[in-house]
Symmetry: D3
Subunit: 263 residues, 6 copies
Amino acid sequence: MPNNPLINAWNAGRSTLNGWLAIPNASTAEVMAHVGWDSLTIDLQHGLADYQTALTMLTAISTTRTVPMARVPWLEEGIIMRMLDAGCYGIICPMINTRDDAVRFVRACNYAPVGTRSFGPIRAGLYAGPDYYKSANDEVLSIGMIESRQALDNLDAILDIDELKAIYIGPADLSLALGCTPKFDQDEKPVVEAIEHVIKSAKAKGKRVGIHNLTVAYARKMIALGADFVTVASDMRLLTAGANAVVTEFQNSAPGNETSDTY
Amino acid sequence: MPNNPLINAWNAGRSTLNGWLAIPNASTAEVMAHVGWDSLTIDLQHGLADYQTALTMLTAISTTRTVPMARVPWLEEGIIMRMLDAGCYGIICPMINTRDDAVRFVRACNYAPVGTRSFGPIRAGLYAGPDYYKSANDEVLSIGMIESRQALDNLDAILDIDELKAIYIGPADLSLALGCTPKFDQDEKPVVEAIEHVIKSAKAKGKRVGIHNLTVAYARKMIALGADFVTVASDMRLLTAGANAVVTEFQNSAPGNETSDTY
Amino acid sequence: MPNNPLINAWNAGRSTLNGWLAIPNASTAEVMAHVGWDSLTIDLQHGLADYQTALTMLTAISTTRTVPMARVPWLEEGIIMRMLDAGCYGIICPMINTRDDAVRFVRACNYAPVGTRSFGPIRAGLYAGPDYYKSANDEVLSIGMIESRQALDNLDAILDIDELKAIYIGPADLSLALGCTPKFDQDEKPVVEAIEHVIKSAKAKGKRVGIHNLTVAYARKMIALGADFVTVASDMRLLTAGANAVVTEFQNSAPGNETSDTY
Amino acid sequence: MPNNPLINAWNAGRSTLNGWLAIPNASTAEVMAHVGWDSLTIDLQHGLADYQTALTMLTAISTTRTVPMARVPWLEEGIIMRMLDAGCYGIICPMINTRDDAVRFVRACNYAPVGTRSFGPIRAGLYAGPDYYKSANDEVLSIGMIESRQALDNLDAILDIDELKAIYIGPADLSLALGCTPKFDQDEKPVVEAIEHVIKSAKAKGKRVGIHNLTVAYARKMIALGADFVTVASDMRLLTAGANAVVTEFQNSAPGNETSDTY
Amino acid sequence: MPNNPLINAWNAGRSTLNGWLAIPNASTAEVMAHVGWDSLTIDLQHGLADYQTALTMLTAISTTRTVPMARVPWLEEGIIMRMLDAGCYGIICPMINTRDDAVRFVRACNYAPVGTRSFGPIRAGLYAGPDYYKSANDEVLSIGMIESRQALDNLDAILDIDELKAIYIGPADLSLALGCTPKFDQDEKPVVEAIEHVIKSAKAKGKRVGIHNLTVAYARKMIALGADFVTVASDMRLLTAGANAVVTEFQNSAPGNETSDTY
Amino acid sequence: MPNNPLINAWNAGRSTLNGWLAIPNASTAEVMAHVGWDSLTIDLQHGLADYQTALTMLTAISTTRTVPMARVPWLEEGIIMRMLDAGCYGIICPMINTRDDAVRFVRACNYAPVGTRSFGPIRAGLYAGPDYYKSANDEVLSIGMIESRQALDNLDAILDIDELKAIYIGPADLSLALGCTPKFDQDEKPVVEAIEHVIKSAKAKGKRVGIHNLTVAYARKMIALGADFVTVASDMRLLTAGANAVVTEFQNSAPGNETSDTY
């Protein structure tokens, strides 16, 4: 099995850029994969793809060197293991709120004797080769989301789970949990402080850290704080923003406002 | 059957903005429909959707007041009539190069005695009501593409077909036909002159005119020349442009270049 | 290859009942197949299924002894041959308006030396066995639709094509062609007379005859006139009628109208 | 976010009619939505749609004002939250048998601090707007099914959960639980008494009540007993019943029985 | 409901051959069903089909007398019950490691009062008839996988659950659990001994036993040891092996090696 | 645009091995692509995939260096151009029977001024880059099938079309045309002679030649005769053969025949 390029990058001191796939479609995934993100995460939680569609999206990502990952809908073993078998190099799991959640999650991501992941890497094996099972426990990223008050309370206990390779900060849920506005690129103080606290604590325990952002500018700030990987926007947000810009420009340039009609 | 809102707008002297759907997916179509385009065209020719997917996209567009249209792959009766039955208010047909092409096309778009369109508006009837057949010939837009040297040669003969309601200029194919670079928002002289000639000729014969553009600025120039409806970009182009911008910004802002890391 | 059960029934003097599949779904096709229709026709013209979905519907029909057929979108060789390869025992082709149409149609339905149907019965062979090609020309029903004024004018020339096994009357298009209301179960005189004329002419030339109906009552009248197979309604029409009946009954039984509330 | 029209109706003293979608298809959902049900529930438990198909069905329902809901396969957080993000205004959850079941269910349906629903209303936000999160806890109906002996035993404890907005009676499972025939429109005494008991208890605790029925007549009786919303039949049942009626009528009208063959 | 043909065969002393479906496609399932396996198991765990696709595959299997089964992704009630409603005659559940796992699994497979399976056999009823619920608990095979060290430790407790009808040995996971190479057709001593132990123990408690194999030769050995049903390879493995053989033969027969070029 | 690797190989004197995809599925296409065929052809004529599925298969092939091609259902411009836009490096077109067929086919495969292919390489451009249009006419293989008596009669006229880059012999249809058994790896004299004649004539006119075979042995004979590319079997045939072998071996090894039951 090839080394996980994300781990390589982080070990080399480079933070990585993650793209986010909410559109349930292989063609958009293929286009996104050609753009040059370090990794692409198929979002099976708040995104619109189910396993069957995600499978075709993973194939699309494999037309490039972009690292495929997935966010699963919930801490449910079935879908975690299926996405790993389908070739994901990392799983982001929502709402890791307690030590028990973290233990259950890493067990699902690791083969025996570490965990209870069942063997059968039908598509992963196509890419990782016959020795996949030997290094999968090392190369597959189990990434637990820290995004609730309960998770903040149990942060150290969660971070103490050795097999948990990284955490991922969900700013919107964390905001709600702290009585703030659910959004990315937060500037409300309680959330900003919580994010800083989580990043600092995770780095202190040797965990990798990721966070979801809306803009590159904010993502760069998170990297400066210690984030190893940052997500910016999503395919659906980029599409919507682009379309809104065109429609707005068209409406604002209606005849009365035009200053030029030659080329 | 309700009047075609595009015809209403044009009759009122307002040019309309058309969005372009190349992504074969109902969820992106639904998002696009909510953005406010006057019409959305599902591209079955150079886009990626087939009939079955286009059907779900038409449903998605019907969650809004946006007018649904389709570009068919070729002058083939089967798909033209299926898209009309599925609820399109307009069909853009590629490569209408001769008078015979135009006749065959408008026959496919019109019920007897005008044409040979077969009756069975299974989804169109859901929206247009039981009297659909009475006004469909008037409200459905048959839009022939002018995009080859042969079409330029036969322009008047094509424009003389009464039932052809509009033409649509394909700048990329027209460019190739004239030995120029296949692209939108053309500034190469032979293409610019051909576009002006086509628009002028069509307006002189009372035809509506549409054209594909990359930017609003160019689209506005086309409107100034007489275009009744203009397409700007496409869902796939907007997504690609947005994603490229993020990746580029991220790469350009790598540590060495950062000037700020606080918020 | 087993004999076509429809031909067997007709030879035995029994008229058959055909169901109509407009819903693009294998599960509804499977339910319909279990109901007991002699044959089921997947409508690729005014119905909502494309080839890929129709393929799963044919599999669903094959869970029973019901005979699978398809109506193709238009006289286009590609889809005619694909539906035959997929296992249809009959093809209904719209708008056979001239002798040439009929010739082109039957050529697409027959192997050399009779026609130009290409060999490769990938799914048909699964059911019909290795000798499929020997009897396919005999057992496959090529059924041309008579539904335009031009077809009425050319009726004898069309019926003279030996390989055309049957005709199918499309009452809605025929009505439009004759200036009447496009509907099934016609009682407007020009259409009624045309239907009688077509049935009589076809039977005189030894052709089998089918017709689309809305009700069993009308279908029985057509049988009395000579029809060999009759379609009644469609899956979508039955669903809509059933749902409308429930909603209407519920609304009409609103509190003020209730006379009983015990059981 | 707009108010939930079902809650509005109930507050105004009007009982609502719910349609049931077991067919996994957007086109049938679109047709059903146009018929006029107050709400439509996509059945992900005993119906045939999975999340990906259900997503297209929700889009289809959004072409009308019908309120979309879903029954999830089981008390599993992943699918509950996904269906809410996809735009459902209510979730019917099977087998709420204990207080703990009810608590876990309502936590999945509510944002922090009430519950643990994760934020990301990708499609719901398209319709409910940016303030969705502020009123979602109020407008989204969490509806627990009462359908086992254990649920009857724990009825009061379940009904005491404030955030549980409604219960839904599953007559077939309830019948099995009580040793009776699993069916709708029950007339066997133990089930009838249990239904009356459940409705009475729920209304006494201020909960809304729904129940699944086969006929309007039985549904009206349930409304008289206090039911706020009633389901009648399902798309698949209506299709099957309609098809059976045609085939039976055809078979019963075979030549020997015909009394008339003229029109 | 018809008797389960697998149970009939085993009662008659005949071991059965099970085929394995990892390809997510109805057409390959249909072809496999025509080949003559006693049963076919759709693998929703390490295979590539999700529920929606599996549904079409079950329809495909029903074109023959082959018995349909499924392996579910994990001990999750939702998908277990859905696959039963969809017509499976047996469910193979991974990682039944404890008595509690076994109890929870059999409860999901059985109607009240034995278990908590919810009533609604939408597709199963189509084949099994209206009395399905009366014999489903008897005819449906709940098959727990024994494939971990924990399961070996708890083997007797698991086998003591009466409603558990059979066990299925997963050699690959069992190998990993015992520190051996994860593969089928094991010859490493710890695994061979464990398999023998499990088969012997299960037979002693009156349970049916199945096991996954790569070759018929090994499967026959397992039958000799007491296995009642054996899986050999999978559709994907057969395809891969066949394709590899062609490519290898072609490369090995390149010009320099050819000894004959006539026919 | 990269050079077409097939053309490179042929120019270097190497014959290439083509795999055949009849299964409509991206995962099987991905597995096939990893096996090492020089090219893979998606069969849209006698295979089971439609455009929408073929699109996902092309993405799957692009995970490797295998060259993607397609056989279209018929000489229909719509699908030919769509498959090229989707990234095919070659199109095999059935039944090129006359000079006019060949002209129409090559026009569909070439941009102006050579042909009428419309510009919009939505997925091809992703791989071939912005200058795709400059070399596409050179690199895209237009491959006409010679498989009818009419084609044999018109062979020279067809081969005289310069833009036709290759021909492909369809042995089954050719057999039917010559009154022989429709099959691959023919040994019936009329077909063998016709194949030799076609290959010889094509090579004499400088055309590349391909042919469909069942076995490598026969394919090697064709190469010896001059074939540049050979197809062997298909994914569906390999799966069927593999499955049949297992079932047969199992049945033949039933207890009575077993000679060994130990390991």
